[in-house]
């Protein structure tokens, strides 16, 4: 085995091993992954909360510090993509399908199943549901992505290191990044990306199927879900072959345009004033309770809820961070640290808040003021929640079709960006990875998603990915240290041309 391809071969082996396990013994895989997952969440939940809060504070501090002026690239470089293209790709990679999937389902879930200290299906539960939906999809996930992508962009574009997560650790472990430690970090990243994307694609395909079933009466079956995966695979492979500049960028821009159209349409035909009220008051609640939500595990009452939701989300975002971080880094060359952090932190967050207010708000309005009892049903069948809400508003058919199109495009974009990132990670950080590798990872991802859907191993793998978030949290805390070391060295010794190292 050539050492150049060691990450590729070992990753391939691990993916094959786990998929085989998922096919032949999904029950045992579920038992093992549940055990690991449960223990991690039970014992290190507080660690996730503290770490993610540290990432948020560190990002904000970095943006306003003297390091904010440093470019993620050489001083003469300008941003490769304009704001619209950049933001579209950021949003598509960072949230994508998940936001459509949970836009209605999450507020409804919190409304129907709030923590023990809040009465179910009450006004207080509605307020809580919106506030925590904002919290789970707001600043914190983006802070996680920022740490990962900032480190990669800084070390790779400014310091000319290979485009790999392991490169960021040079200030801490030196040439060992080219050895076992470096391989371990990169393989862990490939593992988290493959299974994170596979599970997400599985869920996305199921939701597209539900949407098509609502709109055209197409049967909502496993066979149909597999056909959807196959179709989307062909489409994202075509996009992948066109490369980053054409394929992903065009798809991402399409996503944003379609998403905004869908959102505006819903805002217009839905309870507009109510939605705007929800947006305003929830933004206020969110910011006034930010510190409390960030660090409160509810140890006295409601810890179970925190485990099932907040800790689950934090672990998920961290598990996703290698993929999203590498992708965001690859499109952020030439931006200053300050611009990168502030835009990445606030613009997608505002858009997410608007999304939840529009769709979550419309759904809650049905339940609270129009006497339509759909929350229970939506919580039971999460993939149809959005379409159930559409049914009670005018233009339900165009809304459903637009949502399905949006899902499909998000699906293609996520799979396309994941394929690109996986190919990059397994080609020693080549920013233009070989086509053969992109094709291989593309097919492998879709195959993994299909096989896991068929065998019922999706849940097990999802838990496994979240378990992988624990080592990655530690990796990310060290990334903060590596970023600090790199930036401090640059400002202290390179900008002033002052040699030497101090005690």
């Amino acid at each position: 085995m050539h050492t150049k391809n060691i990450v590729f071969y070992i990753s391939l082996f691990i993916v094959a091993l786990l998929v085989s396990f998922g096919i032949y013994d999904p029950d045992n895989l579920y038992v093992i992954s549940s055990y690991v997952h449960k223990n991690i969440i039970d014992h290190f939940g507080w660690g996730y909360l503290v770490s993610v809060f540290v990432f948020l504070v560190f990002s904000l501090w970095l943006a306003f510090s003297r390091y904010g002026k440093i470019k993620l690239g050489k001083d003469y470089e300008k941003p490769q993509y304009n704001y619209f293209g950049w933001l579209s790709m950021l949003f598509a990679a960072g949230m994508g399908i998940g936001l459509i999937f949970f836009g209605v389902a999450e507020p409804f879930s919190h409304y129907m199943n709030p923590p023990a200290y809040i009465q179910q299906a009450s006004g207080e539960a509605a307020r809580f549901s919106m506030q925590y939906s904002f919290f789970h999809w707001g600043l914190h996930p983006w802070a996680i992505y920022i740490i990962m992508s900032l480190a990669i962009a800084y070390f790779c574009f400014r310091r000319d290191m290979p485009f790999l997560i392991s490169s960021c650790f040079y200030p801490l472990i030196g040439p060992r990044i080219y050895g076992i430690t470096g391989y371990f970090i990169d393989i862990l990243a490939v593992f988290a990306t493959v299974f994170g994307i596979a599970t997400s694609l599985g869920l996305g395909a199921m939701q597209i199927n539900s949407g098509l079933s609502e709109a055209f009466g197409i049967p909502d079956t496993m066979q149909m879900t597999l056909v959807i995966i196959a179709t989307v695979t062909v489409l994202f492979m075509i996009s992948s072959i066109s490369g980053l500049d054409k394929g992903i960028q065009i798809l991402s821009k399409t996503n944003i345009i379609v998403a905004i159209i869908l959102m505006m349409l819903m805002l217009a035909i839905g309870p507009t004033s109510y939605i705007l009220n929800i947006f305003t008051s929830t933004v206020g609640n969110y910011f006034s309770s930010l510190l409390d939500m960030s660090l409160n595990t509810h140890p006295f009452e409601g810890y179970r809820w925190t485990k099932e939701w907040t800790l689950f989300y934090w672990a998920t975002w961290i598990a996703w961070s290698p993929f999203v971080g590498l992708f965001i880094a690859s499109i952020s060359r030439g931006r200053t640290i300050k611009e990168f952090i502030l835009v990445t932190l606030f613009v997608p967050t505002v858009l997410t808040f608007a999304w939840f207010s529009v769709f979550g708000g419309s759904a809650l309005h049905l339940e609270l003021f129009q006497g339509v009892e759909i929350a229970g049903n939506a919580v039971e069948n999460v993939s149809t929640a959005l379409f159930q809400v559409f049914e009670h508003y005018p233009l339900s058919m165009p809304l459903t079709i637009t949502a399905v199109v949006l899902l499909a495009v998000f699906f293609i974009t996520s799979a396309d960006s994941a394929t690109y990132v996986l190919a990059m990670m397994t080609s020693r950080g080549d920013l233009n990875p070989p086509m053969s590798r992109k094709l291989l990872w593309g097919i492998l991802q879709s195959a993994t998603a299909s096989i896991l859907l068929l065998s019922g191993g999706v849940e097990a793998l999802k838990k496994m990915v979240i378990a992988a978030a624990l080592p990655f949290t530690i990796v990310m805390l060290f990334l903060c240290l590596a970023i600090m070391r790199g930036l401090r060295y640059e400002v202290k010794y390179e900008s002033e041309e002052s040699p030497g190292e101090g005690q």
């Binding site: 070390f155 310091r159 000319d160 290191m161 040079y170 200030p171 801490l172 030196g174 040439p175 070391r485 790199g486 060295y489 640059e490 010794y493 390179e494 040699p499 030497g500 190292e501 101090g502 005690q503």
Partner: protein
């Protein structure tokens, strides 16, 4: 440089240690030795009388080394009084013995010695054990931990001082790795050049000079290198304007003085 010395004395200090320190001071060409004891009680009480007697006895014993000895008795906060006396009396450095305290006691009660290191703006010699074996009159090795900042300028005269001459000088720099391999190469080149410049400036005072560039935790690396090279004295600079982190966690110099098994000369910038 080492002519006038302030020796804050714990009255429980063993005479063996005091003699051992006196021999080292003799080799430094110390002329004037001020024995200082700081009492927590009033200077007119019984304790003061006892202290005066004890100091007079120690003075008598140390006069055999030919020092011009003065006795000073003060009361108040120990570290503050020591540093105040040092600045009032125009002395060259403060010489202190180190008594190892059990961890719990050290953590709970702190250390007057550590406080003196923190407060003092003049050099401190932290005496840990005899510098010379019975037959030697010359130190085996001195380790100088440099950060290439303004400390070098202040410390070089001490390194070249006759009394501190040793067979070997180890000039050590502990830095942090640069962010990428190219920058690291550049950093190493610059560090080596700086070390060679320092070496040139000390070449007449030592038979053998070794330069070491290392990375890692400065406290650990300095102590490891001192052990590895059999150093008798560690010479280290100290920032008089510490960073916030140093204020909270203590400076490298304070930590080295606490953890080292050999004597430490701390020179404030």
């Amino acid at each position: 440089m080492f002519a006038n010395v302030l020796f804050p004395l714990n009255l429980k200090e063993s005479m063996g240690n005091i003699h051992s320190l006196a021999r080292s001071l003799k080799s430094f060409d110390t002329q004037r030795l001020i024995l200082l004891t700081v009492l927590s009680s009033d200077l007119s009480g019984k304790q003061a009388v006892h202290a005066q007697k004890k100091l007079s006895a120690i003075k008598e014993e140390l006069e055999e080394y030919g020092f011009n000895i003065e006795i000073l008795l003060r009361s108040g906060h120990i570290a503050t009084e020591i540093t105040r006396a040092a600045s009032e009396l125009d002395i060259g450095f403060i010489c202190m013995t180190w008594k190892k305290k059990p961890f719990i006691r050290y953590t709970l009660m702190g250390s007057h010695t550590k406080d003196v290191i923190r407060l003092s703006d003049i050099p401190i010699f932290m005496f840990k054990r005899s510098l010379f074996s019975s037959s030697d009159t010359r130190l085996n090795a001195v380790l100088y931990a440099t950060d290439f900042e303004a400390n070098d300028h202040t410390i070089l005269p001490y390194l070249n001082y006759d009394g501190l001459k040793a067979n070997q000088l180890i000039i050590l720099n502990v830095g942090q790795r640069a962010p990428d391999p190219n920058a690291e190469q550049t950093r190493l080149r610059r560090v080596h050049n700086k070390l060679l410049t320092l070496k040139d400036k000390c070449v007449e005072s030592f038979d053998q000079i070794e330069t070491v560039a290392s990375i890692g935790n400065p406290k650990r690396v300095i102590l490891r290198q001192a052990r590895k090279n059999g150093a008798d004295v560690i010479v280290i600079g100290k920032y008089t304007d510490p960073s916030t982190m140093q204020k909270v966690m203590g400076s490298t110099a304070e930590s080295i003085a606490h953890r080292s098994r050999v004597s430490v000369l701390i020179i404030p910038r």
